[in-house]
Symmetry: C2
Subunit: 381 residues, 2 copies
């Protein structure tokens, strides 16, 4: 027996009761029975997004939702600003370029959050920028960008949108869409929503819906206006991912019961505990100044091969974390806090990291990180 523990920042573990509910007999999507489920999920998603606007449910993963934001809100030739501080920030820009937009890149050092003053200066220099594209949490670096600060640059302008990839942020920390004036926000099912991958959720502000009326980018499968119209009839434009929508309704009910504030506190606690643990072990955080509570990334110490460490964690210890992407390949380990992860999963993460480091020749005091985490995790009991 080698038991498996999933601690990567998506896909995250699916709760057993949700997996079983999704395994129920298939139902037809054009029936009042499924329409009720679909409408209930879409309505409960408003609580998650903290919005009064419609939340669209798309059969695609998060990147599909990101593409939809670009193709439904802008036109070829439009200028957008992409905050590029990691793999997913880069993706915002690449999607925009694929659809013929001009991209003003704001390059941010990996591990740093964007400085709102830099964005402000760019907007002043190029007043025809129509959208700021940013991650709430940049999954490749574990950084939380300052969404509330950025929203102050956009919310009083009717010619500029704030578009947020909330894929590893929404349901982890506070992102009150309406209160801050976020214009478009996307998430995916396989992160804080504890589901298998395959759903993207998107909400638009009233201002963004006006942009959608003007957009001239081609699109068909990701057609937000058509989805909104269909949602009013409790259905979707094309066949929905039935089993995932059933799971979505269940998970959103669970989140409502726990209460968003408690959900945020849980993620904050697990993240703080993990940061304390890795610092107690003398490891260096990859995003020390603006860590997102979704995941904690640490640099692998000198003399240890990060790729081998992640592989050993997975294949020897049964613990799947994530390694680094692109420029950080082989250099970091990323430990997830988001979704169906609790106290002793976090203990598992830290204990296994200690043990794997020791096995790979790094001098580590076993239990030191665990103890530091326990101190913080005890807050909940």
């Amino acid at each position: 027996m080698k038991k498996k523990y999933l601690l990567a920042p998506g896909p995250t573990p699916v709760p057993e009761h949700v997996a079983l509910e999704m395994a129920q007999p298939m139902m037809h999507h054009r029936t009042p029975q499924f329409s009720a489920i679909f409408a209930e999920a879409a309505s409960a998603a408003k609580y998650l997004f903290q919005t009064e606007q419609d939340v669209l449910i798309l059969a695609a993963t998060g990147t599909g939702g990101m593409e939809g934001c670009i193709t439904n809100l802008f036109s070829p030739g439009d200028k957008v600003l992409a905050v590029n501080g990691g793999k997913f920030g880069e993706r915002w820009g690449k999607i925009s370029q694929a659809y013929g937009m001009q991209v003003v890149w704001i390059n941010v050092e990996w591990g740093q959050a964007v400085d709102p003053a830099v964005v402000k200066a760019a907007l002043e220099k190029e007043p025809d920028i129509k959208g700021i594209l940013v991650q709430a949490s940049e999954t490749s670096t574990g950084v939380a960008h300052p969404i509330e600060e950025l929203s102050k640059l956009t919310r009083d302008r009717d010619d500029l949108l704030l578009i947020v990839d909330g894929i590893t942020g929404l349901g982890v920390f506070d992102l009150p869409m309406d209160k801050w004036g976020i214009d478009a926000m996307v998430t995916g099912s396989q992160k804080a929503l504890e589901l298998p991958p395959g759903l993207a959720l998107v909400a638009l502000s009233a201002k963004a819906w006006k942009f959608a009326d003007q957009s001239k980018c081609p699109h068909f499968y990701f057609d937000f206006k058509k989805e909104k119209k269909n949602l009013a009839d409790k259905t979707s434009a094309y066949t929905p991912a039935v089993s995932l929508v059933i799971g979505l309704r269940r998970v959103l009910k669970d989140i409502q019961e726990e209460g968003l504030e408690n959900v945020f506190k849980r993620h904050d606690r697990l993240a703080r505990a993990t940061r304390a643990a890795v610092q107690a072990l003398g490891l260096k955080l990859i995003a020390p100044s603006a860590p997102a509570d979704s995941l904690t990334g640490v640099f692998v110490p000198e003399g240890v091969d990060g790729a081998k460490l992640v592989k050993s964690l997975r294949d020897d210890f049964g613990v799947t974390m994530a390694g680094g992407q692109d420029q950080w390949k082989g250099k970091i380990v990323r430990i997830a806090h988001l979704g169906y992860i609790d106290t002793f999963d976090t203990i598992t993460a830290i204990a296994s990291l200690e043990m794997a480091l020791k096995k790979h020749g790094h001098n580590v005091e076993l239990g030191k990180g665990v103890a530091a985490a326990q101190e913080i995790l005890l807050e909940a009991y």
Copy 2:
């Protein structure tokens, strides 16, 4: 207790062992463990498509796969021919128009298959047509279009593609992609593949891959060249729909074990039995001359409200069939044969139709359709 029976042409019932396999603990998609599953599914899909080409697995429903065929193979301004004999034929043309293509519509009366001579004449009149877009089985009418005949018009030309929506055709009746020279074929998970909706599968011919090198349509999420490159590394460009891919591998193994020829025979038998039954009941088939084995559609007899009949079948009898779409709304009932449907599901379809017709005032001899079906269904025993 009111037991439910799903007999609509998608989503179709998910076999219990497949549902349970998909409910297993989530796994990370960037691991050798999942890569092996992904590669095995993609490889087994070649058997289903009867092709030596790569089969791409996309996290989207069938319409997403259709869109990908358009945006990866053509350029704005290109001329395509769309066979429009139902809701899904119309969709081919609408997607093409959304991406700026010129569409030559070949309108076909609902319930009829396209006449290859008409397509031939159109190609002669407009030799710059670059693609024929057609359904193997038009789900809205239950018609099988003559794909083999159409392939004779395209396979000797290197400037013209045959693009087939096989969403309710593939895995139901014979569509040998390589042998006939089909250039692009799409299917979805929720039809003959017996899975929940959420996956699209697409394969391209060598000729189509050359078109992909020339295409100038914008695309990002549906990027076939990127997916092909990733597939060589046993992965996908973006997060795959993990649980559905696990189900796909299982179902494709089952199909390989049964053997495609037997799968086709099963669908043929259920379809013939159903057609014999409804004719014994004096009902009129909606596609008498070119019925697809995926589903059988019948006109509701005079004096019976089709919408009420379908609702009564579902809510009184627990049997979900499909009604009509667009111009046939309220006028027809569609009974599925595709996927995890066997002898006594077909008996259920016919018996429930007889009983519902009687309840709704139509003079029907109970058991007459069932008996006609039994005669044919006995062939298998």
